[in-house]
């Protein structure tokens, strides 16, 4: 077991005026660990995700990230250049709507290759080869490499977005309702794919979802949020099989049984 957490979050709060976005959130995320943040709309889970991924500045608190050189750096004290570099190399962000995370008017191959070019790869053949391998990994046929994502189905777009994010071997991936707008059968395929990739690559991930089945399948650990507060956290199967808080019990008992 690794001795150092990848991310150390302490006392993170975000206020919108007098309204609470999220309040006093603290946790450690360990290498290879998948954390699910669940809660209903407006519970603050997306605010938390945006703060953690530095897309939003928190009102108080700090987040320390374990850089590849072994040092801990406070995310909110980094320069914007460093943060953006981190975001396109060591991190990934999978948006609920693939159009937010993809360039819809450039080919699938270029979508995957962009991060490589951004870190200085200048060999077309190699970039294309890597893109081909990644498309295969996310189960997109090689002959679609020159097609634009506009011509892809929702599930394919989401898989392409995942490939685009993982091509630089990030260590931390943020996911915002990754299966949100997808059909159930497409969801299952995507979840299985993500689960496999996370295992194979040893990724750490923070997955925001309102779908407890997604949390059960993907995550090791879970945080339940309500009104901006983390009300319960623990091992995923513990929280789902033995929920302690009234709200968690309500959530778990609201799952539709098939």
């Amino acid at each position: 077991m690794s001795a150092n957490p990848l991310l150390k979050v302490s006392d993170l709060s975000k206020f919108y005026g007098s309204r609470i976005g999220c309040s006093a959130v603290s946790f450690d995320l360990w290498p290879g660990e998948v954390l699910a943040v669940v809660g209903e709309s407006g519970s603050g889970k997306t605010t938390l995700l945006n703060c953690l991924s530095t897309r939003l500045m928190p009102s108080t608190g700090c987040v320390q990230y374990h850089m590849r050189d072994g040092e801990y750096r406070d995310l909110y004290r980094m320069s914007e250049a460093e943060r953006r570099f981190l975001m396109r190399t060591d991190w990934g962000f999978v948006h609920q709507n693939p159009a937010d995370g993809l360039r819809m008017t450039v080919s699938a191959g270029a979508n995957v290759g962009e991060r490589l070019m951004a870190v200085g790869d200048r060999h077309y053949g190699r970039i294309r080869q890597t893109a081909t391998e990644w498309l295969e990994r996310v189960e997109i046929s090689q002959d679609r490499i020159d097609d634009q994502p506009r011509a892809f189905s929702g599930g394919m777009r989401q898989r392409l977005q995942i490939a685009r994010n993982l091509v630089t071997s990030p260590r931390l991936v943020f996911m915002d309702e990754p299966t949100g707008g997808l059909d159930v059968s497409v969801q299952a395929r995507l979840l299985d794919l993500v689960r496999g990739l996370v295992n194979d690559l040893g990724l750490s991930a923070i997955v925001v979802t309102h779908d407890l089945a997604v949390a059960r399948l993907l995550s090791h650990r879970m945080m339940v949020m309500k009104d901006g507060h983390v009300i319960e956290q623990g091992l995923t199967d513990r929280v789902l099989d033995d929920p302690r808080e009234p709200y968690t019990q309500l959530l778990v008992s609201s799952i539709l049984q098939v």
Binding site: M1, W30, E33, A188, R189, L191, D192, R195, L217, H220, R221, G234, L235, D237, R238, D241, D242, R244, E245, P246, Q249, L250, S253
Partner: protein
């Protein structure tokens, strides 16, 4: 003989907030231990809390008080208070669990479901699959099912996949929740011999077996869970 599993004064209750905070005591003052090479069987009528005890030991249920001490690689860990990642590590390296029902994952083949605990411990995928195949063959699971996801299997077939998955590792402690419930006589015999092999290898086993024949065959001693019933304690 070392004692890898010690349970001390554990109590557990459920609070049903959706039913006005109704408090349901499950067990209280649970204390026992299981030594290496021993198979302890939990006894008592249904609903007395046998499955709950296994789930607490596995970290699946939280406990109200008490300790669940697991000794592995010269370290003792209290499952009742350990961090999630510590619990996961113990599950990966020392603590196995064969549940009554298999939780299936879409698109993963039966063979890979069985091999997964080994792969998680760093065994090469090919070798893990070979050992998984050996176990599935031993449990008489038809070979043409191996490459299929178990979601559509019958209860007995799923249970055999589940048993193979639980037995594939050399974990020091194995929890068994009615592993033979939906098996025929021949396969029950196979499971009994597999349990015997685990005992011989020095694994500490704790199980629930409703089948009397199997229980007689494997149990070194029977622990009556009625003794831990809080209702009895209150009386």
């Amino acid at each position: 003989m070392p004692t890898p599993l010690i349970v001390s004064e554990v109590a557990k209750s459920f609070t049903m907030h959706l039913r006005g905070g109704l408090k349901l005591p499950v067990v209280a003052n649970v204390s026992f231990s299981v030594a290496s090479g021993e198979c302890v069987v939990l006894g008592g009528p249904s609903g007395i809390g046998k499955s709950s005890i296994l789930k607490m030991l596995y970290g699946n249920y939280a406990v109200d008080s008490g300790q669940i001490l697991i000794t592995h690689a010269d370290k003792t860990i209290d499952i009742a208070s350990a961090d999630p990642r510590v619990v996961l590590d113990v599950r990966r390296s020392a603590l196995g669990y064969v549940s009554q029902f298999l939780r299936t994952v879409p698109r993963v083949s039966a063979l890979d479901v069985v091999a997964e605990p080994l792969v998680a411990r760093g065994v090469a995928a090919e070798e893990a699959r070979e050992r998984a195949a050996d176990l599935l063959a031993r449990l008489n699971l038809p070979r043409d099912l191996w490459q299929l996801p178990p979601a559509t299997f019958s209860g007995g077939e799923q249970q055999r996949v589940n048993i193979a998955r639980g037995f594939i590792t050399d974990h020091a402690i194995l929890l068994l929740d009615e592993p033979t419930a939906s098996l025929d006589a021949a396969n029950r015999k196979v499971v009994v011999s597999m349990i015997e092999a685990k005992k011989a290898a020095g694994v500490a086993l704790l199980g629930i077996f409703h089948d009397e024949e199997v229980r007689e065959a494997v149990a070194d001693r029977i622990l009556d869970v009625t003794a831990f019933s809080p209702r009895k304690a209150a009386a």
